[in-house]
């Protein structure tokens, strides 16, 4: 029947797993990929990709609301939520097919079923209605990903209290929505639903939204949301959710210690991530766990020879591009090449709400905490010609430099299309460039990216356009 002996077996077919499989195949390894649900993992099917499709619909819908500004006419705009959702599902499906095709092209054996460690050199695959298969593997990569965390008292019910999954396929547009948690996921859903007409409230326990971003960015994001009519409560804890058939009663303790009760049609729980460590055979191994994540070294090795782990399973940041890079490094390391491990400060983070947010490296607070003497550059988008022409002048590009070495310690952006622009700073950091190289780089005009250049100039008192 089918092949059962492989150089590498990857458990999990998300952006970590499928990239690992393809890279391994490029390096002439015989590879099998075990996937229990859908190729592309959460990212492709229930995460990154479909949410961007939804947010695109929201973006277009929002623009329709300001046609007059651009000399255009039209009214009576509406949407069909079913079609908005089905478009996002179509997008996911198209990519899903794409991954399938890539895996086939790279001659990777794709095995449907739930994989788990049999021993340190074998993987057992179980599929409903089929006999279980044992795969022999010289190397195994665990890439089983993560799922939404639940907090006691705030459990999803699949009807009115949603996780990201239900939030992605609404059957109706709720008139009111409570989003618990203001990380990237929470904030993106808040932005989407607000643009589509819901009255949205964000509740966050920390003292600011988007707590991993630079403080200034958090403040600007909050201002932008509040201007759009999104209610924001920080330092607030949602104590309990009680649902009936129609809506949910939320008991919230605000930062002022005041306790309020409010009714929402729907609630989205976006309170964190836990790794999928259950039922994958870890119990019989010496693999170490840190909470719900597998502990690995910088190449994804777990300490048990031949077994590796990558992606969301291994902890923060829970980003697809981190998983993909870990996949490549892990596979190249297995193949005996000597890749440079990932440095956390090189991983950009992007949030696709409106306005978009993107950052890489240290926040100003972190840089100061680490003892750096810094120079900070700020360029508000209102000084950028393209932004004015676009009619989107709310935004900021903030750059942080080590004054001694000129190293770009961090870059923080908020505004239109910043998620597309942040790579410029990531490239500069990877190339170990200093302010000098950035200042001498010619950015094209007129583009939003000129704000990136001006921010760097501003850090050294040389900005031209402010």
């Amino acid at each position: 029947m089918a092949e059962t002996k492989f150089d590498l077996v990857v458990i999990g077919g998300g952006p970590g797993g499928y990239v690992a499989a393809i890279r391994a195949s490029q390096l002439n390894m015989k590879v099998a990929l075990v996937e229990s649900e859908h190729l592309g993992g959460v990212c492709l099917n229930w995460g990154c990709i479909p949410t961007k499709a939804l947010l695109r619909s929201a973006e277009v819908y929002d623009m329709l609301g300001s046609l007059e500004e651009f000399g255009l006419r039209g009214d009576g705009f509406s949407f069909d939520i079913e079609k908005v959702v089905s478009r996002s599902r179509k997008v996911a499906k198209q990519l899903n097919n794409g991954i399938r095709h890539l895996l086939k092209k790279n001659k990777i054996s794709v095995i449907e079923g739930r994989g788990k460690l049999g021993s340190t050199s074998s993987v057992l695959v179980e599929a409903e209605g089929k006999a279980s298969i044992e795969l022999n593997a010289d190397n195994i990569i665990l890439a089983t990903g993560a799922r939404a965390r639940t907090i006691p008292g705030l459990e999803p019910d699949g009807e009115l209290i949603w996780t990201y999954k239900e939030a992605m396929v609404p059957q109706t547009m709720p008139s009111s929505l409570l989003v618990i948690g203001s990380g990237a996921i929470g904030v993106e859903f808040a932005s989407f639903y607000a643009d589509m007409g819901a009255k949205v409230t964000i509740a966050e326990t920390m003292n600011r939204i988007l707590p991993v971003e630079d403080q200034e960015i958090s403040t600007l994001a909050r201002n932008a949301f509040e201007k759009r009519g999104i209610e924001v409560h920080t330092g607030s804890v949602v104590k309990a959710l009680t649902s009936n058939k129609e809506n949910v009663l939320a008991e919230i303790t605000l930062s002022s210690e005041e306790e309020i009760e409010k009714v929402y049609e729907r609630v989205i729980l976006a309170v964190g991530i836990v790794g999928n460590i259950e039922d994958i055979g870890l119990e019989n191994t010496a693999i170490k766990l840190d909470g719900t994540h597998v502990v690995t070294d910088e190449w994804g090795a777990t300490g048990v020879p031949g077994i590796y782990a990558i992606g969301d399973l291994t902890g923060a940041p829970w980003l697809a591009h981190k998983a993909s890079h870990e996949a490549v490094i892990c596979v190249e390391h297995i193949a005996g090449l000597n890749p440079h491990p990932i440095k956390k400060e090189m991983i950009p983070g992007c949030t696709y709400c409106r306005p978009q947010i993107a950052s890489v490296g240290l926040t100003e607070e972190k840089a100061l905490e680490l003892g750096y003497e810094i120079r900070v550059g700020r360029f508000p988008l209102v000084g950028n010609g393209k932004a004015i022409a676009l009619g989107e002048t709310e935004g900021l590009v903030k750059t942080i430099f080590d004054s001694k070495s000129g190293e770009l310690l961090g870059a923080h952006m908020i505004g239109p299309e910043v998620t597309e622009q942040i790579q410029g700073y990531v490239i500069a950091k990877m190339g170990e460039m200093t302010e000098e190289e950035l200042m001498h780089t010619i950015f094209p005009h007129p583009t939003l990216s000129e704000a990136m250049h001006e921010s760097v100039l501003d850090a050294y008192g040389k900005a031209i356009h402010i």
Partner: protein, 464 residues
């Protein structure tokens, strides 16, 4: 107008080098940026890039020529349309050429600058090298295509390397590949992860705010701690341990706990040795090299280790004894707040003057923190000399994973028995500490006897 190609200076201190290889032949077209030759110094091999364009008209210094002085004309480029014949030039290698010297010197210094402006290194690496006073041309690069990245420059810093010697688990690949998480030395990162310390909470006291091992061991700073500490410190002082001190502490604990030491003491009469030393210093006073007693002891130990190869060993982990063919001796040098052991390699074969000169250089480097890792990592035997402090006798702690260490005391006049009479001789007590896992009593005794033989009969030192 033909263009002279001059021997470039690859570093500010280079005065001459070897033209290792021409990569172009006479008649080859040369464009700006082409690598035309390879130059070797004692530190590195570098590529020379052409600044100008033309055809290589003549090679004046052949491949594999050594001792080519900087600015020597090594070749000539002809511009479009020129030939050697048409110019009717006769090239002399003694540089009595009739070209525009200023123009060519300027061009040569361009080549020099370009060689140093674009050795393959990232901008941050170059800045760091300048800040540390390091010659970036000699640093091994681990970036793409051998490019020097900042981590490579940081890796040369002494403090960090001292910390790394304590973490014997790290291979050089791991050291180079270990990711720097925001200015953290590899050993600090390792200790932080082992003791579950969040590096984000540690304030770095190393260069550029770099977190070093000492910082991690100190732990995150809490305002409350500092306040309560202040109260307790009225008549005591709490000095945080330097990185080096921490390394020493760790290594000493490890050695004393893991290594089964035993000690063999001999008293050596050193009158002959002192005579030889005085004689040599007098004879070679013009050479400006003064031999010390320690230099002679180093040589004696070197010879002895070759004579007793079973004692030239180190403990190599469970089940293995590493036996050495060479006598590489680590010599303890006291520093302001610690100590380090630079190595004299092949101590048996070097002349006394070579040993003396080398010790001077290494000790100087040690005191200014400029020792390179290869200069203090390794060695199969150590010598520690406290004679200058008047110490009569002591037992040194073995430098893991070496097999033995010699503790040398002060030479002092003592009564000795000669035949049946009491005489006076200058006697120096030496104690050999041995690792009983790899050196047994008899072998240790053989070694220290051999050392004593060379010390007491110094002419043996000059032989072979």
């Amino acid at each position: 107008m033909p263009i002279e190609i001059l021997m470039p200076a690859l570093s500010p201190t280079m005065t001459e080098g070897t033209l290792a290889k021409w990569l172009k032949e006479v008649g080859d077209k040369v464009t700006s940026g082409d690598v035309i030759a390879e130059i070797e110094t004692d530190k590195a091999t570098m590529e020379v890039e052409a600044v100008d364009e033309g055809v290589l008209g003549r090679i004046l210094v052949a491949s594999e020529t050594q001792n080519v002085a900087v600015n020597t004309v090594i070749g000539v480029l002809l511009e479009d349309g020129e030939t050697l014949e048409s110019l009717d030039m006769d090239f002399k290698t003694d540089q009595t050429l009739d070209f525009d010297r200023k123009k060519n010197e300027a061009e040569a210094s361009n080549v020099q600058q370009r060689s140093s402006k674009s050795p393959k290194a990232t901008p941050l690496a170059k800045r760091e090298a300048i800040a540390q006073g390091l010659d970036i041309g000699v640093i091994q690069g681990t970036g793409s295509r051998g490019k020097v990245i900042r981590a490579d420059v940081m890796a040369l810093q002494n403090i960090e390397k001292l910390e790394e010697t304590a973490s014997s688990g790290l291979t050089s690949e791991e050291e180079k590949g270990a990711s720097e998480r925001i200015f953290v030395s590899p050993i600090a990162r390792k200790i932080a992860s082992e003791s579950d310390v969040d590096l984000g909470l540690i304030r770095g006291s190393g260069p550029n705010g770099r977190i070093i091992m000492a910082d991690v061991l100190k732990g995150p700073r809490h305002p409350e701690d500092m306040a309560s500490n202040a109260a307790a410190l009225s008549d005591e002082e709490l000095i945080p341990m330097s990185g080096m001190r921490k390394v020493i502490a760790e290594r000493m604990v490890s050695s004393k706990s893991n290594v089964p030491h035993f000690y063999l003491t001999v008293d050596c009469e050193i009158d002959e040795l002192l005579k030889l030393r005085a004689m040599m210093n007098e004879e070679f006073s013009s050479r400006d090299v003064k031999l010390s007693v320690n230099d002679l002891i180093i040589k004696a130990c070197g010879r002895a280790l070759i004579d007793v190869p079973d004692a030239n060993v180190s403990f190599d982990g469970e089940g293995s004894v590493r036996k050495y063919q060479k006598a590489d001796i680590s010599v303890a040098v006291a520093l302001e707040n610690g100590l380090i052991t630079p190595i004299i390699r092949n101590a048996d074969r070097k002349s006394l003057h070579e040993i003396s000169e080398e010790m001077k250089v290494l000790a100087g480097k040690a005191r200014s923190g400029k020792l390179r890792p290869e200069e203090y990592q390794g060695g199969s035997f150590s010598i520690s000399n406290l004679g200058m402090y008047g110490i009569k006798h002591f037992e040194a702690i073995i430098n893991e994973p070496q097999g033995a260490i010699l503790a040398v005391g002060a030479g002092e006049k003592r009564p000795v028995v000669k035949g049946n009479d009491i005489a006076v001789a200058t006697v120096m007590s030496c104690t050999l500490s041995c690792d009983h896992r790899v050196i047994d009593g008899a072998v240790g005794a053989q070694l220290i006897s051999a050392i004593k033989k060379y010390i007491e009969y110094p002419p043996f030192l000059l032989m072979g």
